[in-house]
């Protein structure tokens, strides 16, 4: 049976302590710049904050994973190299990388450091994963959220590294690391700047009838009726019209949250080593609730007890949730 480590998000030092206290096996976090894919305003760590966070986590036997999972544009690679140097100096337990140049730099300069392949590298076949393992000594791959459990089981048998899968949180629709939608509308790149639907270009317009439009860079991404649940204007979760869909529809995906709590036993059985909870941009209350619930569930499953799935399902109560591609390929 796999270890079923719980990998938890930390957008701020307080969130990191919250995740550690709630039972995370590892937390992942990033610096306050473009070197990670959650480069959001007011979020993330200064080097000093990271040093304290590593001490706090290590004192409680929790690992710290540093996300360096964006793609440096030519001429700016040094920012990523320095981030890696700083992370190594501060004693983080692994780097989560996507760019081959960054991976190569770390493999050569900090050969003792453990490398995890970010979901942003979009390695979705045994061959692609083996490429990164053999080239850079990658020890773990974070799988894209596009595979079914039988496919994950199959990959597990064909690769020399551990598998981490997302189990909860925001449900990205596009292949990560291959999406320029935000840049097309806003001029800020998900891959190069770590930005997705930047808040500075988001606005909400309330209309007289109680409906509300959410806009990104002036483009209406969705319009919600007075009683309808709202969403953040993420382009891949917007409603649009097409020639034969004049009423407007969710062209890519409805605003749903991934929740694989019901599939945990199967994922463990398929050989998944680590479960990742999305949400570095979410609050401490989210981190506390989600980490605690999944800690309990994973412990129960590992001890051979029935896990209380209801608690996990309740975490997204009121919000729509999905098992996405994991359950059936009809999702595609």
């Amino acid at each position: 049976m796999s270890l079923a480590e719980l990998i938890c998000p930390a957008g701020t030092p307080a969130a990191l302590r919250t995740a550690v206290d709630a039972g995370a096996d590892a937390v992942y976090c990033g610096f306050q710049d473009a070197t990670n894919a959650r480069n959001f305003p007011g979020l993330n760590f200064t080097p000093d904050e990271l040093a304290e966070a590593v001490a706090y986590a290590h004192a409680r036997a929790t690992k710290v994973l540093l996300a360096l999972n964006t793609y440096p544009p030519a001429g700016k690679v040094d920012l990523w190299r320095h981030a890696a140097d700083t992370g190594a100096r501060l004693g983080v337990d692994a780097f989560i990388v996507a760019d081959m140049g960054v991976a190569d730099y770390i493999a050569r300069t900090h050969p003792q450091m453990r490398l995890h392949l970010s979901v942003q590298a979009a390695a979705s076949s045994p061959e692609a994963i083996r490429y990164y393992c053999e080239s850079f000594g990658v020890k773990r791959v974070v799988l894209p959220r596009i595979l079914t459990i039988p496919e994950i089981r199959q990959i597990r048998g064909e690769i020399p590294c551990e598998i981490e899968t997302f189990i909860f949180g925001n449900h990205g629709l596009m292949v990560e690391g291959r999406c320029s939608l935000t840049n097309y509308l806003t001029g800020q790149s998900t891959n190069m700047d770590g930005v997705c639907s930047p808040a500075e270009q988001v606005d909400y317009a309330r209309h007289a009838d109680g409906s509300m439009s959410s806009r990104l860079a002036g483009f209406t991404i969705d319009c919600f009726g007075p009683e309808e649940k709202a969403g953040y204007p993420t382009i891949c979760k917007g409603r649009y019209t097409a020639p034969h869909r004049p009423e407007g529809y969710y062209a890519f995906e409805e605003p749903v949250s991934l929740n694989l709590s019901r599939l945990l036993p199967e994922l463990i059985e398929a050989g998944v080593h680590a479960f990742k909870i999305e949400g570095r941009q979410r609050s401490k209350s989210y981190v506390r609730g989600v980490v605690r619930a999944f800690r309990q569930a994973v412990d129960d499953i590992r001890a051979g007890r029935e896990a209380n799935i209801a608690d996990l399902v309740a975490l997204t109560e009121g919000q729509k949730q999905t098992q996405g591609a994991f359950e059936t390929k009809k999702w595609r």
Binding site: P13, A15, F40, V202, Y204
Partner: protein, 175 residues
């Protein structure tokens, strides 16, 4: 959208006129003292605000008789109660029931979830709101408890009563 052009949410107390002005006069000294103390204890809060230290936030608890004007500038901190008809032109407006705002401040409630369920309304500069949220979220423990504790046993009692009163109110209205 520009603040001030929006329509009123359904549940709201007047927040203007004589009562509002009297209420503001009563709470103002407490607010000033509270916010200065909290700021002194949590200096890291300001770094996360970045350029929005000089943004005017209007925090509008729809079930209180007044709104709150926050300007989180460490050099010239403003936190004051204002009648709604005398509110400043704000860079960002955060509007919701008092208890929800209290819980958001303490990270007891998840802001995204509250927003998606339409219990929380945000207008104006969205980045300012996100920064404020992230800055408050990086404070360990409860800001509300901290503030209440400044006023000793009576302060804690008032907070407990507020929480009870406004949660009943909330349950009644959403039942």
């Amino acid at each position: 959208m520009t603040p001030g052009t929006d329509t009123a949410p359904p549940i709201r107390v007047p927040g203007s006129g004589v009562i509002a002005r009297l209420a503001c006069g009563v709470v103002q000294p407490l607010l000033s003292r509270t916010v200065r103390r909290i700021a002194a204890r949590h200096p890291q809060l300001f770094a996360r605000l970045g350029p929005h230290q000089r943004t005017d936030f209007l925090i509008d608890p729809v079930d209180l008789p007044f709104a709150l004007h926050l300007r989180p500038d460490p050099a010239a901190l403003i936190f004051r109660a204002v009648p709604r008809d005398a509110a400043p032109r704000a860079g960002a407006v955060i509007r919701g029931r008092f208890l929800l705002l209290l819980e958001l401040m303490d990270s007891e409630e998840d802001g995204d979830a509250a927003f998606f369920s339409r219990d929380l309304e945000v207008s104006g500069d969205t980045e300012a709101v996100v920064r404020l949220r992230n800055a408050l979220d990086d404070v360990d423990g409860s800001i509300a408890e901290e503030a209440a504790a400044m006023f000793g046993v009576p302060g804690r009692a008032v907070l407990a009563r507020l929480r009870r009163a406004y949660s009943h109110d909330y349950e009644r209205k959403t039942a």
